[in-house]
Amino acid sequence: MDIVIRIVGAAGQGVQTVGEVLTRAAFHSGLELHAEQSYHSRIRGGENAFALRLAPGPAWGAREGTEVLAALNQEMLDQYLPSLTDGGWLVCDEDLTVSEARVVRVPASRLAKEELGLPIAANMVLLGAAACVAGIEEESLARAVRDAFGDKAELNLEALALGKQHAGDPRLGPHSPAYTHGERMLITGGAAVGAGAIAAGCRYLASYPMTPGTAVLTYLAERATRWGLVVEQAEDEIAAINMALGAAYAGARAMVTTSGGGFALMVEGLSLAGMIETPVVIHIGQRPGPATGLPTRTGQDNLLFALHAGHGEFPRYIVAPRDAQEAFYLTAKAFDLAEKHQVPALILTDQYLVDSFSTCAPLEVTRVAPRSYLLTPEELEAMVSYDRFAITDSGVSPRAVPGVSEKLVLVDSDEHDTYGRITEDLHFRKALNEKRLRKAKGLMQDVAPPYVHPSGGLEGRTVLLGWGSTYAAIREAVDMLNAEGESFAMIHFSELWPLRTHELEQVFDQAARMIAVEGNATGQLASLVAQQTGLKVHGFIGRHDGRPLTAADIAQEVAR
C-alpha cells in the first residue's frame, strides 16, 4: 500500500486538526504512516496542507502525488488538483467548482450549519467523507475524534457520520494492519527532541519562540510540572543561551531551542560554552535563510553555520537526526556527550522533521540510561583543593558544581588558569587552549559511523551522500533507481561533527560516482567533506525552495 491523503485549505480552517485526527486514526488501524505539514507563515488564510502517506513501512518520508485530495477551499483545490494521480479521488464541498470526474461532492458547509448548527464542523463532515473514500476504519476514526475532542466529541462524531453517509462506499482499501497495538509509536520530530531531552535528564530550557524550534519549547513547557523542569521564555535568544549556561554551571542539564536566526544571536554564548567548558544542548530547527527567509518552510542550510559559529577554536558535537525515532536517541546522546566531554552539543533538525508525524518501532528506554559525570560531594570533600580546569590527558577536567561542597567553582570567559582565575600568563593560555581542544579526540571516539546502504560492494555504483532528514527520501530514491538495476547506493550522516572520514574515504574509493543530496543550494556537506578529506563529489542535487526533498526529485535529477 502506498497512498497519500492530502487535506488542503486556508489557515484557520482546521487543516492541522483534521489531519492529526486522520493520522491518529490510521495509527489506531495499525497502518504505517508518515504525515507532513506545509503552511504559510500566517494565522488566517494562505495555504495549509497536511499530507498523510499510508506507507509501505515505518520511517518513510513525504512524496508527491495524491490519491485522496480533501479540499476545504477553491484556491487550494485549484492549486492541488494537478497532483491527483490517475486512480485518485477528490473530496470537496458541493459549493466548490470542479470539472474533475472522480469527485465526491459533499454538502459539508450546509450539513454543518443545518444539521449540526455548527458551521465550523464542516471540516469534520469533509473528513468523514475523505476518510471513507480512503478506506480508513470508522472505529479508529471515532477513537481519534474522542481522544482529540473529549467532551465535545459527540457533535464531531455526528459530523463524521454525515460525511461518510454522503461519500457512499470506500473507493480505496481495505488496508490490512501492519502491526498491532504496542508494536509501533506515533511521534513527531519535535516531540521526539523534547522527549529525548527529558529522558536525558534535561532540567532547564530557556528560549525565545521561533518557528520551527518552538515545537520543542511548547512540548517541554506542557510537561514541565510532570517531569520537573523549568521552562522559561527568555526576553531574547542572547538571554536564552546565557540563562541556560548559568543553569548548566549550577548543575541543571540545560537546553535552548531556536532556528537559524535565533541561533545567530546565541553565537557569542556558544563560544562562552566552549571557554567555560559548560555543557549545553542547542536545538536548531532549520528553515530557509538568509535572514527571516521562509519562516514556516524547511531546509538544510545551517550545517556550516552550526559548525563554524563562535569565535575562537573549541570542540563541539553536531547531530542531524534522520527521522523522529533517531531524533529521540540523538537528543539524548547530545545531552550525554555534552556532559561527558563538557562541550556544547548542537541538534540540527528542520521544519519538515519537526512537524512530521511518523510511525516507528517503540523507543527503547534502556538505550538512553542517563548517567552523571559530576564529582559527588563526597569526592569533592576528599580533595585537598579543587581546580575546575585541571589539565588532564583527555582534556576533560573533573567537573564540580557550586554549592554542593565547600570547594569553590570559578569559571571565566577570559582566558584563565586551571583554577578558573583570569590570567594573561601566556603559558596558561597555550596549556588551557590545548586542553580544551584535546577533548575532540575523545569525542570522536563516541561518534557513530555513517549509514551505508547497501553495506559493502559499492564498486561501480553511484553513491548518494546525504545528512539529516533527507534520509528517507534518499533511501527511497536508491530503491526506486535500483529497481532498474543494482547500480545505486547511499551514505548518510546523522552525526556530523566531529566528522568521521574513514567510511567516507572507503566509499569514495569504491564508488564510480558520488552525488551529494542536500536541502540547500550550495552543498554544505559536500564542502565539508572536501575540506576534511580532499575528496570532491561528482554531482550535487539541492533543493532550496522551502519544501522537503522527495525520492522522485532525487531519482529524476540522478537520471538526468
Binding site: 530557556a206 542572547i238 562562552l272 523507543l363 558544581v401 554549592g403 570559578l410 583570569i422
Partner: protein, 285 residues
C-alpha cells in the same frame, strides 16, 4: 565572620584610587555580616573593570560575557535557588549591553541582587560615555558630547516595580556595605546602584563632586514603601543625589510562583529512572 576572609589573595588589576576597591571592601563586609558560607554564594559578573570582582572575592564565581550578567545570574538562581546569587558589573554591562536583561529580570523577579558599579564611563575601553553619562559629556568617542539623555536606573527600576531599589556612594564603604546586606536579604530582584568616581576617565563626576551632592534619604524622612515618593525622588533634576533605600515592597518571587521550584532545588533532582522513562513514552503509543 571576618570580612578579610572573603577577600581573595590575588593581585588587583584596578587603577589606583578606583572606587572599586571600596566596593570590594564593602562586599566582603556585607558577606561577613550576612554570615554566608563562601561556597553558598555565587558572584556573577560580566566584562569590564567592575566585573573583575568575581576573581577578587573568595566565593563561587561566574565571570561570563559582557552584558549577560543578569541573564546568567537568573539561570544560576533558577537551577540552585538555595544559593545566594549576586549579579555585579559596571553600568555599561548592566544598563547598556545588558539593558534588555535588566528590564526583563526585574519583571521575572528571580531572587538575585544586582549591584551596579556606576561611574558613568567605560573604563576598560578607555573612557567612552556610558548610558548613565550626562548629556553633553565629552569623550574621544563622543566629541560633541553625549547626545543621548542619561539612563536613570533607579527610576526605571521603580517603574518596573522592582522589589528593592537603592543607591549608595562608593566613597561611603560602611553605608554601601549596609545597603548590600539589605539588598541581599530582600527577596526578589534587588538593585543597588553604586555611584563611583573614575579617577582616570571621569574628571567631572569626581569624589569631591559626589561628596558635595549626595544626601541620605533616611535623613530626609523618605518612606521607601511610597512608590510615588520614590518616583519623585528618582526623577529629581536638581543638583542633589540620593543615597539609601528608594523603594521597597514585599511580594512573591519567581521561585515562589514556580511549581517545580516549590518542590525543591532543580539541580538536585535525580536523573530519570527507567520506569519514569517508560511513563514518559506512553503518550506515543
Amino acid at each position: 565572620m571576618n570580612a578579610k576572609e572573603y577577600l581573595a589573595d590575588v593581585e588587583l588589576a584596578w587603577c589606583p584610587g578606583c572606587g572599586n576597591f571600596g566596593i570590594r571592601q564593602a562586599l566582603a563586609k556585607a558577606l561577613a555580616t550576612l554570615e554566608l558560607p563562601h561556597h553558598r554564594v555565587v558572584l556573577v559578573t560580566g566584562i569590564g573593570q567592575a566585573a573583575k570582582i568575581a576573581h577578587y572575592i573568595s566565593v563561587n564565581g561566574y565571570n561570563g560575557l559582557h552584558g549577560r550578567t543578569v541573564a546568567a545570574a537568573a539561570g544560576i538562581k533558577m537551577a540552585r535557588h538555595d544559593l545566594t546569587v549576586i549579579a555585579e558589573s559596571g553600568d555599561g554591562d548592566l544598563y547598556g549591553e545588558g539593558g534588555n536583561h535588566f528590564l526583563h529580570n526585574i519583571r521575572r523577579n528571580v531572587d538575585i541582587t544586582i549591584i551596579a558599579h556606576d561611574n558613568r564611563v567605560y573604563g576598560l575601553t578607555k573612557g567612552q560615555a556610558s548610558p548613565t553619562a550626562p548629556q553633553g559629556y565629552k569623550t574621544k568617542a563622543q566629541p560633541f558630547g553625549s547626545l543621548s539623555a542619561p539612563f536613570h536606573p533607579a527610576a526605571l527600576a521603580v517603574a518596573l516595580d522592582a522589589p528593592f531599589v537603592a543607591q549608595s556612594f562608593a566613597g561611603d564603604v560602611e553605608g554601601t556595605a549596609a545597603l548590600m546586606v539589605k539588598a541581599v536579604q530582600h527577596r526578589g530582584c534587588s538593585l543597588l546602584n553604586i555611584l563611583q568616581p573614575c579617577p582616570v576617565w571621569n574628571r567631572i563626576n569626581t569624589f569631591a563632586w559626589y561628596k558635595e551632592r549626595v544626601f541620605s534619604l533616611e535623613d530626609e524622612g523618605h518612606d521607601p514603601s511610597d512608590r510615588s515618593a520614590a518616583f519623585a525622588v528618582a526623577a529629581r533634576q536638581d543638583d542633589r543625589i540620593f543615597t539609601g533605600i528608594l523603594y521597597r515592597r514585599e511580594g512573591p518571587t519567581f521561585e515562589d510562583r514556580h511549581p517545580v521550584l516549590q518542590e525543591g532545588v532543580l539541580a538536585d533532582r535525580p536523573l530519570p529512572t527507567e520506569s519514569e522513562l517508560r511513563a514518559l513514552l506512553e503518550e506515543f503509543r
